[in-house]
Symmetry: none
Subunit: 201 residues, 4 copies
DNA sequence: TAATAATCGAGACGGTACGTCGCGTCTTCTG
DNA sequence: CAGAAGACGCGACGTACCGTCTCGATTATTA
């Protein structure tokens, strides 16, 4: 993950750890001060970090890659599912989404970067591949187990079903920031989708 | 809405409607050709539109404001619901969302602009108030009629239910822009949420 | 000379004399405030004069032509030569040059415009044709009369001779602006060139 | 003189000498092609020189300062006088003036830049001190030797006499560009001023 | 211990786009 | 008609960053 991963030890002066830290620190500082990604120039980072521009480019190909590393470092770990039932797994999954949504709202940095991420294709793709997709896969696995266990109908498109569960949370977090993310939300969503909303009988 | 809204008629030559259109058209063209917003320079728009840069800056303070107007200009009109049943209404509502997602241009634009807008609270609020909220209200009304008609359980949170229907479509359009939006999707979503996904019996 | 010269009286609303005056006045004001010709935009003149730009362009094709009129209005009249002798005529001619040189030094406007004139070919040519050339012709005529009267050798190139007389004055006025232009200068120059500077006998 | 004068060696990549030369060369080219100074944009110079605009602005604050340096760079070296006689010295001096006037580039440049310079007193003074004054001094020395050798009357104001010799050449070069600067001109001027133009006897 | 080699801060390089200003022309409405 | 007002397409302004490229000066490892 970090740019100074262990290598076969090459000759010459090694990369400065102080520079690594100074770059990261300067970037976080500038983001915390409210800079947009667009306004956050490599030149500004280098200047703030007291570092040459080339020192940054030596570590990352561009702005976006730097942010990918930055984002991954603050992303919470994948949720661990209880495995007791499909319902429990789905609730746990949505709960972790909810927690992140809450964190996102409290962390200026996260909010700042998240909302701009889609403008930077490489950044978005990297985030998609390393964060969103794995988590989607976890959800699909849980659904498959649910089908196998007879908890979920076998004739439903699981991709769609997954979106059915995740959609509302993501909508409230990303599309409609400010919406409520109250504690019971995951259960509500899961039960509504599992049971349907037609009157019984 | 448009920059040349009706005014008390100021002196001097009036803004050219042809220029208005040329700018909008050029921007949509460039976006449709795959330009990201950050790669979409005012200079390129002006050149493509056959218009001076100042003519653009005379209308909008910057790129962001231009995109908000653009967004509104491509926004399809509110859907007309058949009113035959809650299911039909919801399908019609989601179908209009799907159509919007399909329009390649519109989708690229939505995808690009949505996040940017969140950085400008007032602009986001304006868009929210004039586009998102009315449509949400239409959905909520349909759901209320469904409850009254006995098609939907009375004990469900309608706000949440609305998100349940809309979430998947928005997720696929905005969050996961490459995802499929096949013709039957609205029906699938509506039926899945109405019926639930537990095995029958 | 003025833009509103007498004409065959055309139909429609006549040119406003107030506008004429306002334009001239505004230009002189701006020059007096120290604006360079370059910084003196038509836009600034129009704004200062409370006049539309088209009103200026209706009178003069461009900036330079406006200045030509302005310059001519402050240029002293051609000198009247006594005609008593070639020497007297030349002294009178150079005296008028000297007077203008003195005026140029005292008038910020003249100094300002003169020193920039050469940058504006049309302005310079117009000035050359209407001011410099006629005065040169007057000098040449005086020289020819001197030759005819036997005061000046017949084998001298009169064009060159004229430059010999005028050169020093122009040099001190234009090229070396701080140089002295003391009262007796014209006589000194004329006598030196007429008599030569070799020791007598 | 050049913008890259010897300095205590500052950190960072040093200014490119190739860029220096390319800028100077491009400007001279454009001037030689007949561009007026006002038509000579920094953008055109940069483009012609294959250089970024910033590279020019890094060296000179603006157009004016660039031209001063240019002027000095094309200024021919001070003439070497034969010393055989005052007449020979003066002819040599004027010949060097004539040569300078003939160089098409230099002439165009001189004509264009001279006046501009007068608007910037310090720049003018610098040019005066380093170019004009030394050359004037050379002329004055030659005249003094002429007086000492009995070639020139002792009662003439040498300052004025110098202007008498130099004036015509400068007039034709700077004030009346396009005038003839034929080969024999220096001799003609020197002889005319030395001998006077009154009929002999 | 010396040579070698990759690093460091610094800053110049050729570019692209920025947002502004003025050009000279062209509408619009008002006198 | 001419007036002012001001928008139009155009092109240059001077600035900010881009990502790359020298510089002289440090550090390490290898010989």
């Amino acid at each position: 993950m970090t740019p100074t991963a262990d290598a076969p030890r090459s000759p010459g002066r090694p990369r400065s750890v102080r520079a690594d830290e100074a770059i990261i620190e300067a970037t976080l500082d500038l983001l915390a001060e409210g800079s947009t990604i667009e306004a956050l120039s490599i030149e500004a980072i280098a200047s703030r970090a007291g570092v040459g521009k080339a020192t940054i480019y030596r570590r990352w190909p561009g702005k976006e890659e730097l942010f990918v590393d930055l984002l991954r470092s603050v992303e919470p770990p994948d949720p661990v599912l209880p495995g007791t039932s499909a319902r429990d797994d789905l609730v746990a999954l949505l709960e972790s989404l909810r927690q992140r949504g809450l964190a996102k709202r409290t962390s200026a940095l996260l909010h700042n970067v998240f909302s701009q991420m889609q403008l930077y294709p490489k950044l978005w793709e990297a985030y998609h591949a390393t964060v969103i997709e794995p988590r989607r896969r976890i959800g699909l696995d849980a659904l498959r187990r649910g089908v196998a266990a007879g908890e979920i109908r076998a004739d439903v498109d699981l991709e769609l079903l997954n979106d059915l569960f995740v959609g509302p949370l993501l909508l409230r977090t990303v599309i409609r920031p400010g919406a409520t993310l109250e504690p019971g939300l995951p259960e509500q969503v899961v039960d509504a989708v599992l049971d349907g909303v037609r009157p019984k009988g």
